[in-house]
């Protein structure tokens, strides 16, 4: 039988905090004010839901591109859906990828329909063995962060989050060696903090999982030499739709 130590831990914390407080009262007579004294917490939700669907500037797009470039990612700025399809086609052809898996986001599907082909396209619900054979995954980025070139990938039933798709992208964006994210420029925000804030729906709900991804995965575990693509994708592309 597993014992649950909830009560033990909470009362231990309370006892310790009380002891610290009494120690502080003693030393207040002599010493400087305590370092741990903190204002009590207010219980309001801290971050209001943010409307991020304002017009995006070219300034933001350029900033995003430059930041992604600094972390060895690639940003393709396009001004039409046809341009997005061309960019995607070029990435697939350059890498010689034969099997592509997509998420079920409607914009992703729309753009892929314009791509001429030359590869096998799989939906996100293929079995894992086949998914593992895919060289490239295409999914939607819910948000883009200008300061770092970060894309935010959200999963699950996003009902209630304005403008966010219900998407199965977790493995699509993670398993293949190359990930291509489709990002609308109206989904760009300036800071990481703003991105986090805008994940919350009006009712304060968060998606089941949100991953903030900045560039390709990397490690420096062997003699601190930078190697790209350890467990996550080796190539991170973002197709930024400046017309959307």
């Amino acid at each position: 039988m597993i014992k649950d130590d909830r009560a033990t831990i909470l009362s231990a914390i309370k006892a310790s905090l009380a002891q610290a407080a009494s120690g502080r009262t003693m030393s207040r007579l002599h010493g400087p004010p305590p370092s741990i004294a903190a204002p009590p917490l207010t219980n309001q939700p801290s971050i209001p839901a943010v409307d991020r669907h304002g017009p995006a500037s070219t300034h933001a797009a350029a900033g995003f591109q430059a930041a992604l470039d600094r972390v060895q990612g690639v940003c393709h700025r396009v001004t039409s859906d046809a341009g997005a399809a061309d960019a995607l086609q070029a990435v697939i052809a350059d890498l010689g990828v034969r099997r592509v898996v997509r998420s079920d986001d409607s914009l992703v599907i729309e753009i892929l329909e314009r791509v001429i082909g030359g590869f096998e396209l799989l939906p996100p619900n293929v079995d894992r063995a086949r998914l593992l054979e895919c060289g490239l995954g295409v999914s939607r980025a819910t948000i883009g962060v200008v300061e770092y070139g970060t894309i935010v990938l959200t999963s699950g039933d996003m009902a209630g989050v304005s403008g966010s798709p219900t998407e199965r992208q977790r493995l699509v964006s993670l398993l293949p060696a190359t990930h291509v994210a489709i990002l609308a420029s109206s989904d760009l925000v300036e800071t990481w903090d703003a991105a986090l804030a805008s994940l919350r729906s009006a009712s304060g709900d968060l998606p089941p999982t949100a991953t903030f991804a900045t560039g390709p995965s990397r490690t420096a575990d062997i003699e601190l030499e930078l190697v790209l693509g350890v467990h996550g994708p080796k190539n991170q592309h973002v197709i930024l739709l400046e017309h959307r």
Binding site: L10, S16, P207
Partner: protein, 504 residues
Amino acid sequence: MSPPDAKPNETGYIHHLHADQFDDLVPQALANVELRGALAKATNTIRNRRAIALEEIDDLQELRSRAKSIKTEALAHLDDHLETFERQATANGIHVHWAADAESASAIVLDIAIKNKTRLAVKAKSMVSEEIGLNDALIDAGIVPVETDLGEWIVQLAEEPPSHILAPAIHKRRREIRDLLARVLGRPMPDDAAGLTEVARHELRARFAQAELGISGANFLVAETGSFLLIENEGNIRLTTSLPRVHVAVAGIEKIVPRLKDLGPLVRIITRSATGQAISCYQTLVTKPKTSPEDDGPEEIHLVLLDNGRSKLLEDDLTAETLRCIRCSACLNVCPVYRQIGGHAYGSVYPGPIGAIFTPQIAGMHAASQLPGASSLCGACREVCPVDIDIPGVLLHLRHRAAEGDQSTGNHPEADPRTTEKTQSMRRGFRFWRWAMGSSRRFQVFGAVGRLLATVIRQVPSLTKYAGPLAGWTDGRTVPRSPGRSFRSGKMARRLRPEGQGRA
């Protein structure tokens, strides 16, 4: 190790702790030239990257003080925040468990593993799981734990403990790693870091696909929303928390932050302090298990809250600072002691300056009384610490406790006999010093004797073995080169001496 009847918040337990062997481990580490070379190179590189990254933050001091006050506030009302976290996480569908000590944390995870018929568990790097000895517990139950962080995987294959909080294989050269993988996998290995990394990716993919259970730590727990944040570069945490059907995260109770918006400043400062990147590759905010059957991700998420002696640290404002630590490892990279002896010499999962204060407070002074001495008190650790922990202050406090006998484990009986002896020999030394310095005559005589002894001992090094009652002092020190004659008899001293005073 805590005595069987210890109250849970008295002291905790740290797995595989052999910090009591510090005196033996240090000379071993110092004699390992290869290790010292690797460490010097690695810590220098990380240090420089960090310095550059932090330069880019205009409002660094402001950011540090925000990070500090977030953690301070969280700790000041830790009980409330934990209860809020539990309420929110439970509403989100996460199972929250409470573990007063290492043993019950291991038991909780094991129970989940067994209920889910786990044969293979993939693990993302987690200090806490090392602290509670989770791997051994799983292995004893016939479950295979596979570490998936590249460095962690390498040290697991080498059957060694990690030596650095963020770069667990920092002590290993590439050649060693290549030979190790060749031996374990039974085939020739590429020579370059990229090739070796590719091998690891391939080998571990198969494990991720098979595992029934994924085990991770957590960097921050958000009370307000019942979510937790995982920070990484490699993507193994994403895989660990996406592929297996069940995910268990184990986190110390001090990981809590009150609000969602507290994550911003902490994320911003943790990676810059740690590796010098502006931001790590991935931050994953986990709030719920998957909401529809065809979705990706785990069906079941468990979070184990671990005390293991942490609540005790809150008794005192100074020791409580220890709990602010966000495990960025900046203090390791700047510590002159760590840079010489490496992580293994600390004999604990937690190495470096933070380990020197965390380990003895968690496991009890009797188990790690030497560690607070593993510092030159130069203050570099505090200077870089993003949450401004007074590490030298806590060190001094703990040294004092070690010298006085550990209050937290009763009076003296359990104190390490070696410490007691060392302390006494130091006391003898200082008493003698005070007497010898007491008059100008004695000062001159003993100065001459000292110069003579230093010359003789340097010529016959084996004499240092016979330091007798002074061994407590001389063991850790080398004999300085004798200047030949005293400063007082030199030209400079004569010139400095006020008029009218005779020659010395």
